[in-house]
């Protein structure tokens, strides 16, 4: 409180002095506006005053008599002389003047003049608000553009940057117009912290600038509470994020309030399903009526993933409900939670606002306690643009654009999110990361082999750029060293993509063509050395796939559907085009296919699907069974039924983070051609892909598909109509085109 009192005391002192200067005059008043009006003076602040009068003829002489001693004293003064009507007129014409005058306060002279001015200004502001707020919002955005985000700048402007004091003033002004609530306690608290820092900055630098430059940070920290610049910046960043988040939220409220009211016919807002328990309403993501956060620990991640994938914000009410009522996540996490996290991470740039919102409500730290160590953690070097936590999120965004380069997009995204997690712990950040990652991986419920690969990624996340720029790439020992450290090509691929994502998320100085070429060269050489060590699962899917019970079913050879938990096995006498039929039927019943394996034993096709219901509960299996039987003979109505269903879903509005990719894996099998499709998951994707293969005249002998979060890696073992390999480049191009087209949902 000491510093808040200091600000008030400074204002009181100025008030007293100005009262003396005015003396005993009639029909005039001195009023304070802006920060002085709010009694928030910092040592270097201007005195912002207006001399209000009732049309006195000698006002010029009177003003000179007051201003001159102030100028002579060296205090910087921002002044004007107006009647009440003039002042209101100026405020209505100039937004900046209006925002200052919203805080008008009587200092000396006729109190009625001050009251009248205040009443009329506020009335005008409330009357004009609908018109002025869009203009104000634009000005706020422009200021943010110009001054950057306070929460991430090395040398932020405490007042003008996004998340700075001006945003708090803007929020108060909007509240004064009765369009939004007054800033909440946590925002006022954050503003107080920034004002404290600003006051010390003015004192330490003996200047009025609000830019918290590097050279002052240690002194300011010491003067404030005896800590160092790191602790100071962490506190400043935290306050700025609280303010920026609340301001964004407020502007969304303002936009909603300014939207024309619905016609009576449309009173009921449309709610469109996005995921199980999650719907879109009025451009925001909210919980479905029957969603139960208290008994559904994964709901919070599902809602976040759905929001990010659709490029929409989570509504504040939903966030509050999820933060307060979510059941604790069981450990290890269930597969659905992992999937939702991956789908969230893979959503591209829309991840950032959603993550920021989860972070503000403490949800991230509750799910991942290690995150607390990197939150708002400053990186005080010129290469880095962001705090550690934001860098990690940005790395995941960059990684989401590179998911088609790797066979394990899930590990790439997790590696990006956690590669610098060690920066929050003492000691070398790579060593710390290697130590903490098994804890995280185990909590997430990853299989031990995946945890090990993640640890390898974190341990070596600087290996490629360091080696490429500092070691002789023509020396076989250099290449051997990298190959030995990495071990296989799957990991090398992952590490290469992680290196690029990490560097791009760091800042413009960390990555460019020059460095990219060196790293590419190193990777190409290491890949050549590891050529024999490609970890591609080349087992024909039938080996070891079917357990005895399933083989028993296959031998019976009768068309049937067996359900065991979330595993669906379809057995049928083999004929071309079964896979797309089954995939279509499952999609029709709102089932999301997490993985699928298809194989044929003695002319009986066995297809095993792992499914999860897209919304709510599992379908009525007797109906599914009937649909499977019907579709086996006649699939003509499948495509139109699916298209019909498709229209009921909310369409994701954003661009997918990475375009789909088709890869021919020639070394994978001798009896069939293996084509791998890497794409973004969507409703009915497997159906469309397998239908495209059928259209190309190919027979799918077996398939292995896996959904990793929102990304899909499908390998199809196909042969041509003649039973031979598909080798003609033109034919391959045609197939690839069909598959790529099939990756996009029909519009």
């Amino acid at each position: 409180m000491r510093r808040a009192e200091l600000r008030t005391a400074l204002s009181d002192l100025a008030d007293e002095w100005l009262t003396e200067q005015l003396g005993d005059e009639r029909d005039v008043a001195l009023v304070a506006v802006g920060g002085y009006g709010r009694r928030e003076l910092a040592p270097g602040s201007d005195l912002d005053v207006v001399l209000v009068h009732r049309g006195r003829a000698d006002i010029k002489e009177l003003a000179d008599r007051i201003w001159y001693p102030i100028w002579d004293s060296g205090v910087s003064l921002d002044h004007s002389v107006r009647t009440v009507d003039e002042a209101v007129g100026v405020a209505r014409a100039d937004l900046k003047a209006m925002l200052g005058m919203v805080d008008v306060r009587h200092i000396a002279g006729d109190p009625e003049l001050a009251t009248s001015l205040r009443t009329q200004v506020l009335e005008a502001w409330r009357r004009d608000a609908r018109k002025r707020l869009p203009e104000m919002h634009a000005a706020v955005d422009e200021r943010a553009q110009k001054h950057g985000e306070l929460a991430f700048l090395l040398e932020p402007d405490l007042k003008e940057s996004r998340g700075g004091l001006r945003d708090v003033h803007a929020m108060a002004a909007v509240a004064a117009a009765w369009i939004a609530d007054a800033p909440a306690a946590e925002v006022r608290d954050a503003a107080t912290r920034l004002m404290d820092v600003r006051g010390e900055l003015h004192r330490c630098s003996s200047r009025s600038g609000d830019r918290l430059v590097l050279q002052e940070q240690d002194a300011v920290a010491k003067a404030l509470d005896g800590t160092d610049a790191d602790a100071l910046m962490r506190d400043v960043y935290d306050a700025a994020r609280t303010i920026a988040f609340a301001a964004d939220e407020m502007w969304r409220r303002v936009e909603a309030a300014l939207r024309p009211p619905r016609r009576w016919r449309q009173r009921q807002p449309t709610r469109r399903p996005l995921a199980d328990g999650v719907v879109e309403q009025d451009g925001e993501v909210v919980l479905a009526r029957d969603a139960e956060p208290a008994s559904d620990p994964v709901l919070v991640l599902r809602a976040a993933a759905a929001a990010a994938q659709a490029g929409l914000p989570l509504s504040r009410h939903t966030l509050d409900r999820l933060a307060v009522h979510s059941a604790p996540m069981p450990e290890p996490w269930p597969a659905a939670a992992r999937d939702a996290l991956l789908s969230l991470l893979g959503s591209g740039p829309d991840l950032v606002p959603v993550w920021e919102a989860l972070d503000q409500l403490g949800i991230v730290v509750r799910l991942l306690p290690e995150w607390a160590a990197v939150r708002c953690h400053p990186q005080r070097n010129a290469v880095h643009r962001f705090t550690v936590d934001r860098h990690l999120v940005e790395a995941a965004v960059e990684a989401s654009a590179l998911t088609r380069r790797v066979r394990r997009p899930d590990l790439l995204l997790l590696g990006a999110l956690f590669h610098d997690i060690g920066k929050g712990f003492p000691g070398d950040h790579t060593d710390a990361g290697v130590e903490v990652l098994p804890v995280i991986g185990t909590r997430l419920g990853l299989p031990p082999a995946d945890v090990e690969m993640l640890v390898t990624l974190v341990r070596h996340h600087l290996l490629l750029p360091d080696t490429a720029t500092r070691r002789d790439l023509d020396d076989p020992a250099t290449i051997r060293l990298v190959a030995d450290a990495v071990g296989d090509r799957t990991t090398l691929e992952l590490l290469h993509a992680l290196t690029i994502a990490d560097a791009r998320a760091t800042g413009p100085a960390a990555w460019g063509d020059w460095k990219a070429r060196l790293v590419d060269d190193l990777v190409a050489r290491a890949a050549a050395l590891l050529a024999g060590a490609l970890v591609l699962d080349t087992r024909a899917p039938v080996d070891g796939l079917l357990d005895d019970a399933q083989l028993e079913l296959a031998r019976a050879g009768v068309l049937d559907v067996h359900v065991d938990g979330d595993r669906v096995t379809v057995v049928a006498p083999d004929r071309p085009g079964l896979l797309w039929r089954w995939a279509g039927v499952l999609a029709l019943h709102r089932l999301q296919i997490r993985s699928a394996t298809a194989a044929s034993v003695d002319h009986v096709a066995v297809t095993v699907f792992d499914v999860s219901p897209r919304f709510g509960s599992m379908p009525d299996w007797s109906v599914v069974r009937a649909d499977v039987r019907r579709t086996y003979d006649d699939a003509s109505s499948l495509s139109s039924a699916l298209a019909e269903r498709d229209r009921a879903y909310a369409r994701a509005t954003t661009l997918e983070p990475a375009p789909p990719r088709v890869i021919w894996a020639d070394d994978a099998s001798e009896s069939a051609t293996v084509v791998e499709v890497r794409a973004h998951d969507s409703v009915g994707l497997l159906y469309r892909l397998t239908a495209a293969l059928a259209e190309a005249g190919l027979d799918v002998q077996s398939a292995r598909m896996s959904t990793l979060g929102a990304e899909v890696v499908d390998a199809f073992y196909v042969v041509g109509a003649d039973g031979g390999l598909v080798e003609d480049p033109l034919q391959r191009q045609r197939i690839a085109d069909l598959l790529i087209a099939a990756c996009r949902p029909p519009s």
Partner: protein, 112 residues
């Protein structure tokens, strides 16, 4: 005065810098450049597709020295940058007419 310019392999930068400092040269300008000499890039087979690297990433160093030191500085750089392999780079000198230290306005060898 002479401008000594060297184009070297990136990983040799630290060694060359250390050698120059040991010799007594303290100021130098470094840039990331790309190009090719007789080395002419190289062809790699990567992910099954052949691609040609036309320009190879290199480091370019610029250092201005007195006439008497130029030959020695060239030797120092060549010795530190050599690996004996193709693509080790080149070093050349150019006469410098004038030199001004911006801060003080000193001219000629005084500004070195």
């Amino acid at each position: 005065m002479k401008l000594v310019t060297a184009v070297i392999k990136p990983f040799k930068l630290e060694e060359v810098k250390a050698a120059l400092e040991a010799f007594g040269v303290h100021g130098l300008t470094v840039g990331e450049v790309s190009g090719h000499g007789r080395q002419k890039g190289h062809t790699e087979v990567y992910r099954g597709a052949e691609y040609t690297v036309d320009f190879v990433p290199k480091i370019r160093l610029d250092v201005v020295v007195g006439d008497d030191d130029a030959a020695d500085v060239v030797d120092v750089i060549v010795k530190a940058a050599a690996t004996g392999q193709i693509g080790d780079g080149k070093v050349w000198t150019t006469p410098v007419d004038d030199l001004v230290r911006v801060r003080t306005g000193e001219r000629g060898p005084d500004a070195l």
